[in-house]
Amino acid sequence: MSDQKLVASKLHAADVGRTAAVGLRSRKTRAFLSAVGIAIGIAAMVAVLGLSESSKSELLATLDRLGTNLIAVQAGEGIGRGSGELPDTAAPMISRIGPVEQTAAVASVDANVYRTDLMPEDRTNGLSVQAVDITLLDALAGTVADGRWFDEASASFPTVVLGSVAAERLGIDEAGGDVWLGDEWVTVIGILDEFELSPDLDRAALIGFGAAEQYFDSDGVPSTVYVRADPEYTDEVMGVLAATANPINPEEVEVSRPTDALEAREAADDTLTALFLGLGAVALFVGGVGIANVMVISVLERRAEIGLRRAIGATKRHIAVQFLGEALLLSILGGVVGVGLGYLITAIWSSYREWDVLVSQLAVFGGLGAALIIGSLAGLYPAVRASRMSPTEALRTG
């Protein structure tokens, strides 16, 4: 008899959001607790990504400052690997390579350094004595903590500049005093800051080549030559250094780039980052399970509401969308809090380490995206369950 067309039930997206918001607001504590897991997981991931990015940018700044064009040419030591000394001709030959801008030789001196002449011979404190070119400080981008570095004159007199660790172990904190070096009192003219590129030299007392030959019987044969190359040709220079330094036995020469060690350390940090990311993912997963759990309980408790909504015209899909909406809202709330928290952790830690704070958009949107995905996965089962509930069954229990 009636030919009128039925107007389909519909539910606007804004109403889904409103309904979900009211649903959560009427159960605040539970909503808060179930969002905590997601928040922690996202915070961990954002913080880990942020910290690793901040430390990477710190590394880039450091590399920029130190320059990646420093090359260390070292004599191999051990059976079949060399005598521990480069040929006499190594340094002059290397400086003849076109793109080499600077060389600085280091030769070990057969002497020890002590605080006073009364110290027993064997109390060396693990310190060495090294003869160095006056170009060394510049080549290694080192800095002076106290006193001064060698000049042409002081390099041929019995004067010494102490590496940072050497100064500390000798108990000397300012330039001007004397130390007992070999069989002489030698004046400390300077104390250095740490070398970022050559920690070995921190544990050395440094003297000029002239002084080494004149007062300490050194033959001046270098064990290491530091080379600054034209940054454009660093790789090419590295390729020819071994044969240039020791044309007869190039295999006894070790050529390395000190900044590679810094990068390797960063690569090790990457493994740690991956581990923490994994832990964050686990927290996120547990958070998702928490939300699913809470939503399942919620569906059971709100049978009457489901029945009523079906009675006033909701389709199964509308019911599913409502519960999915609540799960999504929960996880987005958790995600937003988590991103904020992760940012805060990064900011605090970075300012403590004096890094620039760097949280990439990838971390932020990745975090929110992950929350969204977790939310929809967690909400799916309860939503489907709610929508499958028979309306009469649901109303009877109210």
């Binding site: 008899m1 009636s2 030919d3 009128q4 039925l6 107007v7 389909a8 039930s9 519909k10 539910l11 606007h12 804004a14 109403d15 409103r18 309904t19 009211v22 649903g23 607001r25 009427s26 009457a304 509401e305 029945g307 009523l308 909504r309 079906r310 009675a311 006033i312 015209g313 909701a314 389709t315 199964k316 899909r317 509308h318 028979s390 309306p391 009469t392 109303l395 009877r396 109210g398």
Partner: protein
């Protein structure tokens, strides 16, 4: 053809629950309801009244027989179509009110139109009008949980009529109310009937049943007797 329109037609309707053992909660019931009628359904507990109401309200499907609501043979409609039918043509009132606790009276009533696609401000406007009609115009912003039982049932009635449905189905609407409050809710339903709405009321209350123009008594899922009050217009 009569001038009045048949809004509900049941022919040999059977509803069997597939439980163990199966229950024939509705067992071959036939009757028709015309537009603007007030029909009472009475019967002892477990006789199948609520089941019948659910079948008439398309919340549940009959196992066999014809159920025709405002001209639609509901067995031919999909689940989604039935939802549409309920959202526009049928209003429900329940013994337990079934108001949403986090919502105000106004939003509870406005939700009666939630699935019609009307925008929120229009839903709220109609809700205010409906609440006024049931004498609750002064309680729009009260949370549902803060209302008395009688007030809650008035809000529920407002929600049932907000979309001007042809049929209002009420399952023991006075069951949780004292006599005076129950009477005022019944008076409200009578007003709806006067405005042309068809109302079917399930009740336990003898006095209420006796005051209705037409009642159907059921027992064990079957019509036991039908009473038409003297002088009542059919």
């Amino acid at each position: 053809m009569s001038a009045s329109r048949t809004v509900l037609r049941l022919e040999d309707v059977v509803k069997v629950y597939d439980s163990t053992p199966p229950v024939r909660a509705v067992d071959g019931i036939s009757f028709t309801v015309e537009e603007g009628e007030l029909l009472g359904v009475v019967g002892p507990s477990g006789s199948g009244k609520s089941t019948l109401l659910h079948v008439m309200g398309t919340l549940d499907r009959a196992s066999s027989g014809l159920v025709e609501v405002v001209g639609y043979d509901v067995s031919k409609l999909s689940d989604r179509k039935l939802s549409s039918l309920r959202s526009r043509h049928i209003g429900f009132v329940f013994q337990q009110f079934h108001l949403l606790s986090g919502y105000t009276a106004l939003d509870n009533v406005a939700d009666g139109l939630l699935y019609t696609g009307l925008p929120l401000d229009e839903r709220r406007f109609h809700a205010a009008v409906a609440l006024d009609r049931v004498g609750m115009g002064h309680r729009l912003d009260h949370l549902a949980t803060k209302l008395s039982g009688g007030e809650r049932q008035r809000v529920a009635v407002a929600r049932a009529i907000i979309g001007s449905p042809e049929i209002v189905l009420a399952d023991e609407p006075t069951g949780n109310l004292d006599t005076a409050t129950g009477d005022s809710v019944m008076a409200l339903l009578r007003e709806l009937v006067d405005m042309g709405t068809t109302v079917i009321v399930i009740t336990h209350d003898r006095e209420i049943a006796d005051g209705l123009p037409r009642t159907i008594a059921i027992r064990d899922g079957k019509i036991e007797r039908e009473t038409v009050a003297a002088g009542a217009a059919i």
